[in-house]
């Protein structure tokens, strides 16, 4: 037999048995709190608007448990307790004291004559009703450059979203340019808020929406009617323009350690989910941070957002800049900062957006098309619903709103 010296041309055969897999599984935990932590959060800015500091406490007996199927932990609102009746003040440059007043339980707002100014230092003093006194470090308000150009680009792949069937939702990505000031250390933070038009202002399960009558109130209410099936929904259109308010949840920070004095182009500062094709107002804020505030936010970011990689950083307790004057080892969560703000209020017409539906916000939120109540003999006039203001809804047109629906 002739010996075969050549390498056979077919050397490889690959068999791949494949089971459907994803590399990430939900994981259930139960966390039982053992102590209570104070959470102080807030920022003094140079914007001419009230500045709010929030002061809360976690419950000593809080229990956080993953849900059965989705392994989601939803902290109970009862486990976060507002700290009321505290004496809260801000000291400017070590001299002038501004007393803050409590507007809602746990929320303290600066007086009307107060506007933060660039270059000044601010310190927060809290005296709780039980006599414990907390002080923040002095935070100096650094200047911030103006946002240069701002534009948006449609991003069909978008961001992860577990409400949508594909797991993703398309976004309008907001890009900005800015010129970093040379020869100084700058720390940045970007925040965004969007105002989306909402056309459904009330939904009633097994009931009717009423604004008049014995049982109803002036701002409207669902009145249960057991004659309707238990799963019956009626949705009611808004009486006038109504906006749902969305806020960016990601911590977006930056330091000019590598980019001092250079113009930064095409920085993505917001990814606005495309819930609907209607125009919306996007408010982008570029804020200055102190070095310590930057470090603090960086730690939060590392421990909550930059996780699930192949090489995570082991988490550690994060100490904010507020301390108990009698017990400096007490861990107080949150940070009191002072930031100068450059803001752009951008009316986004969404002309470049593909695949979005007009007035689709409600469907996105509830998972169904609106079911308007049809006129009947008993209810010949279907009422419009009131746009009830809350932290996530407003009936007052946001500043710079330009178009109609």
């Amino acid at each position: 037999m002739i010996k075969k010296r050549a390498i056979p041309h077919l050397l490889i055969l690959i068999i791949l048995l494949w089971t459907t897999m994803s590399c990430i599984d939900p994981y259930k935990v139960t966390v039982q709190a053992t102590q209570s932590y104070l959470i102080v959060e807030g920022s003094i800015t140079d914007l001419d608007e009230p500045q709010t500091i929030s002061i809360f406490e976690t419950s000593e007996t809080a229990n956080y448990k993953s849900s059965e199927f989705t392994a989601t932990i939803t902290p109970k609102s009862s486990d976060i307790i507002p700290v009321s009746k505290a004496k809260v003040s801000v000291i400017e440059n070590g001299q002038k004291t501004y007393e803050l007043f409590e507007t809602q339980a746990g929320y303290y707002t600066t007086p009307l004559n107060f506007v933060g100014s660039i270059g000044s230092s601010y310190k927060l003093i809290i005296e709780k009703s039980d006599g414990k006194r907390y002080e923040s470090t002095e935070e100096k308000m650094a200047s911030v450059p103006e946002i240069g150009t701002l534009y948006d680009k449609f991003n069909p792949k978008g961001i992860k979203d577990n409400k949508s069937s594909s797991g993703n939702i398309a976004t309008n990505d907001i890009y900005i340019d800015y010129i970093d000031p040379a020869a100084e250390r700058n720390f940045y933070r970007w925040k965004w808020t969007s105002y989306e038009l909402q056309n459904i202002c009330a939904s009633c399960k097994q009931g009717f929406y009423e604004r008049t009558g014995n049982t109803a109130t002036a701002d409207g209410k669902c009145i249960q009617d057991i004659k309707l099936p238990g799963f019956n929904y009626y949705d009611y259109f808004c009486e006038a323009f109504c906006w749902d308010i969305f806020q960016g949840k990601q911590i977006d920070i930056f330091s000019d350690v590598y980019t001092d004095g250079q113009t930064q182009y095409d920085k993505v500062v917001a990814q606005i989910p495309v819930y609907q094709s209607n125009p919306c107002l996007v408010v982008v804020q570029q804020m200055s941070l102190s070095a310590n505030a930057f470090r603090y936010l960086k730690l939060i970011e590392d421990q909550s957002e930059n996780t699930g990689t192949l090489a995570d950083t082991p988490p550690a307790p994060i100490k904010g800049n507020v301390t108990n004057t009698k017990n400096t080892n007490e861990i107080v969560l949150g940070y009191f900062s002072a930031s100068a703000v450059s803001e752009i209020r951008y009316m986004m017409n969404r002309q470049n957006t593909i695949g979005a539906v007009k007035d689709g916000l409600f469907k996105y939120q509830s998972g169904r098309d609106p079911i308007p109540e049809s006129e009947s003999d008993e209810r010949p006039n279907i009422p419009f619903a009131i746009c009830k203001p809350s932290v996530s809804r407003t009936a007052i047109a946001p500043k710079n709103w330009q178009f109609g629906r």
Partner: protein
């Protein structure tokens, strides 16, 4: 008559011819490398020691006269691979030259043991494991890629943080506390693709010595262990090609004898360019691009009977682009890529003064250059952060052997050059060029190892090393207020040193002692003590170092790590060394272990001491190992109980304490580990191998609560590593088919079919929490969440 090939264990062929009724064989036995005659090798015919035993004379010669028949002749010499000659009625009288190979050079039949098959009990060192390439090849591996790092994790005392770990943890040490040497050249990053594959071309690998207990004094500079990988020597007589293809890579090795018996060279390489398959493996790998290759060129020149010269070069290259790692921070870019290159050289000259004494002199240069980069969004230009480390190592040693005394002494000199990082914007205009100063240091070592047999029962190895380290300028050295946390604000003074000026020195003795006492011929008790100093380490605050992690030498503000290891072991061989059983217990205490302040960042940081803290680490463990070394079924099974606790308590400032100054579990603390690895040879062509691994999950930090701020919920933490991820277990299988055509040809093909994670257990690599829509979700990340089936083809042409 016909020439007939006879079966041999070794590397050269013999032929024996037929002659009359009686048979006379004149045989000369030589060392395969030095050609020195081996005096006193024992020759046994047909395993009948009483009747047919002889020894080689001064010239390594012996003559056998016997009947012309079937005989099996064994030639054995301590430390060498046994050699067998088989005769038949047709065998003719002849003269033969047999070249015996040192076990160290090629370990064939020994599956796993301390250095020599029958020396597990008798050797004076503790905690030494050796795996040869044949064993490694049979261990089922992910994607069928032979992987020494996964192989040694089947041994007791070797663990890791998981399947994507960039290195292994040996007896409670960190990954950078292991000295990994490829033919004497240090390796700074042992894996490709972030821990998925190891960096050695499998065909060139000959042998692996793992010193996790007693480390001979000739090794220095790392605090936990030594992994000494030896590459094959080029074949001086035969042209050979091996190669193979698998799902991931293709490999080729070509051996060319240039002057027969004098000079040979080989090239061996492996490359992987199949990253287009990655998304099919896992969605998580969708955005991963990866290419890697590595190669070795090695030449061996036998100048004469007294002198040999070896030259070796090893190179490896990786490119990968991933979103599974955090990107280059503070640069506006949209993709992160990593590139890293290793280029090592080694030249070694062995001069044999007389059969008892030789001098080995070598020069080594090791170079590792990792880069992390991003692509500027607006211009698509690459922005790179380049870093690197270079070592030049000069070494000379004298080896002496006389009867029951074996001695080695020598000198080492290492120059370190660390380039901590340069941010190179290239043409990109949004970023500045930033350079951090290059760091220089020298390390000196003088050592002696002596193996001495006091009596038949008591023997010992006595090693002593003195190491001395100098940190050199040019540099700026800061002094900090000891009462304050080290940062920009606590600098008391700062001194500028010129180039070459000594800024700080450290040094000390490193005793390495191993004692063996034979309780009987088959049972021994051993005691070992080791002290090791480490002046060069990785500073990285991630669970496993990433390829671009920074290397840092000791300096005025970072003290060297010092580790004491005490080991006690009991060894028993059963049934003429077919079975081995051992128990080893150890306790290890190290100081100046490195941990990090919250939020530590080392990128382009000129003063890394402001980011880190030093503490102590204590580990202890008990390792049970049972192995079967001969027969159709070979393998081992072991159970390890091991703990590691770290503590950082020195500072008075809460920012410089880890876990409030209390002891905490190391990231790789896994108390219980049970490993089994079995190879069953069904016939000459088929063998099956199995691995089973069961191990406690590694620790992670479980939040103590969730708080709402910044419009979202965040976990917050108190204690470090207070929980464990779920228990890890996995079964692997491989089926090796060698030469399926069953024909005796120059071309031989082998198939290896393997299934990694046979029952598809979704082993967690990490547990983490993400904020989603006003709630928090816990997740586990898996690396190999499904069975990985692969088929590889390897061939040999001689």
């Amino acid at each position: 008559m016909r020439m007939k090939n006879i079966f041999i264990i070794g590397f050269c062929f013999l032929s024996i011819q037929l002659f009359g009724q009686s048979l006379s064989l004149r045989i000369t036995v030589l060392d395969s490398i030095t050609n020195e005659p081996l005096k006193g090798a024992s020759v046994v015919v047909d395993l009948r020691k009483n009747q047919w035993q002889t020894k080689t004379d001064d010239k390594g010669k012996f003559t056998l006269n016997m009947t012309k028949d079937d005989h099996s002749i064994s030639i054995k010499y301590i430390g060498y691979v046994p050699f067998w000659i088989y005769t038949t009625a047709q065998t003719e009288n002849n003269d033969y030259v047999i070249k015996m190979r040192l076990v160290e050079n090629e370990l064939e039949q020994v599956v796993i043991s301390t250095a020599k098959s029958d020396q597990n009990v008798k050797k004076t060192l503790l905690g030494v494991n050796q795996i040869n390439i044949k064993t490694l090849q049979k261990i089922p591996a992910a994607f069928g890629e032979v992987d020494f790092l996964r192989g040694i994790q089947m041994l007791p005392g070797v663990s890791s943080v998981g399947e994507a770990s960039n290195g292994v943890n040996i007896r409670g040490g960190t990954t950078d506390q292991n000295l990994i040497l490829i033919d004497d050249t240090p390796i700074f990053n042992p894996t490709h693709m972030f821990g998925l594959f190891s960096v050695i071309p499998p065909d060139a690998l000959s042998n692996l010595d793992l010193f996790k207990g007693n480390v001979p004094a000739r090794y220095g500079g790392r605090a936990a262990s030594v992994l000494d990988l030896t590459l094959k020597n080029p074949n001086l007589n035969k042209f050979k090609i091996n190669g193979g293809l698998s799902l991931i890579s293709s490999k080729l090795m070509v051996e060319v004898p240039i002057i027969p018996d004098k000079l040979g060279i080989y090239f061996s390489g492996r490359g992987a360019f199949t990253d287009f398959l990655l998304p099919k493996i896992s969605q998580e790998l969708e955005n991963v691009k990866s290419k890697f290759y590595e190669g070795v060129v090695k030449a061996f020149w036998r100048i004469n009977t007294k002198n040999t010269f070896t030259a070796m070069s090893y190179g490896s290259n990786d490119f990968f682009q991933t979103d599974l790692l955090s990107s280059l921070p503070n640069v506006v870019g949209n993709t992160t890529f990593f590139e890293h290159k290793t280029l090592n050289y080694n030249a070694k000259w062995v001069y044999l003064i007389n059969p008892k004494l030789d001098v080995t002199t070598s020069f080594t240069r090791a170079n590792y250059d990792p880069t992390i980069g991003t692509i500027e969004t607006v211009t698509k230009y690459k922005i790179k952060l380049n870093s690197g480390i270079t070592q030049n190592i000069y070494k000379t040693s004298l080896n002496f052997q006389n009867g029951n005394n074996k001695m080695e002494m020598g000198l080492n000199f290492t120059q370190n050059e660390i380039r901590p990082g340069t941010l190179d914007p290239g043409k990109a205009f949004s970023v500045n060029k930033i350079e951090t100063p290059t760091e220089y240091s020298n390390e000196y070592g003088i050592f002696m190892d002596d193996e001495y047999e006091f009596s038949k029962k008591l023997a010992g190895t006595f090693g002593l090393r003195y190491s001395f380290f100098t940190a050199l300028g040019a540099s700026e050295v800061r002094t900090y207020d000891p009462l304050q946390p080290r940062d920009e604000f606590s600098v008391v003074s700062s001194k500028i040193y010129g180039k070459g000026e000594i800024t700080k020195t450290y040094g000390g003795l490193e005793p390495r002692v191993g004692l063996r006492y034979l309780l009987s011929d088959e049972i021994s008790l051993k005691l070992g003590y080791n002290l090791m100093r480490q002046y060069l380490q990785i500073v990285s605050n991630t669970t496993t170092p990433i390829p671009t992690s920074r290397w840092k030498t000791s300096d005025q503000n970072i003290a060297p790590q010092v580790s004491h290891l005490l080991t006690l072991g009991l060894y028993r061989s059963i049934d003429k060394n077919i079975y081995d059983f051992s128990v080893e217990g150890y306790y290890r205490a190290s100081k100046n272990m490195i941990d990090y302040k919250p939020g530590a960042d080392f990128l382009l940081q000129q003063f890394p001491e402001t980011q880190l803290v030093q503490g102590t680490s204590n580990s202890y463990g008990l390792e049970f190992m049972f192995s079967k070394k001969k027969g159709n079924l070979t393998g081992w099974t072991n159970y390890t109980y091991a703990r590691t606790f770290n503590q950082v308590y020195a500072s008075t400032n809460v920012l410089e304490l880890v876990n409030n100054g209390n002891p905490y579990r190391a990231n790789y603390d896994r108390p219980h580990t049970y490993n089994t690895s079995i190879d069953i040879a069904v016939d000459k062509h088929n063998s099956f191998s199995f691995n089973f691994v069961l191990s406690s999950g590694r620790p992670y930090s479980k939040p103590v609560g969730f708080v709402s701020f910044q419009n979202s919920y965040y976990p917050f933490y108190d204690e470090r590593n207070n929980e464990r991820i779920p228990t890890y277990h996995r079964l692997d299988l491989s089926w090796n088919i060698s030469n399926p055509t069953m024909k005796d040809r120059r071309y031989v093909g082998n198939w290896a079919f393997s299934v990694y994670n046979l029952y598809g257990h979704r082993n967690a690599y990490s547990v983490f929490f993400k904020t989603e829509n006003n709630s928090i979700k816990g997740y586990t990340l898996q690396i190999f969440g499904a069975p990985i089936v692969s088929l590889a083809y390897n061939f040999k042409f001689e």
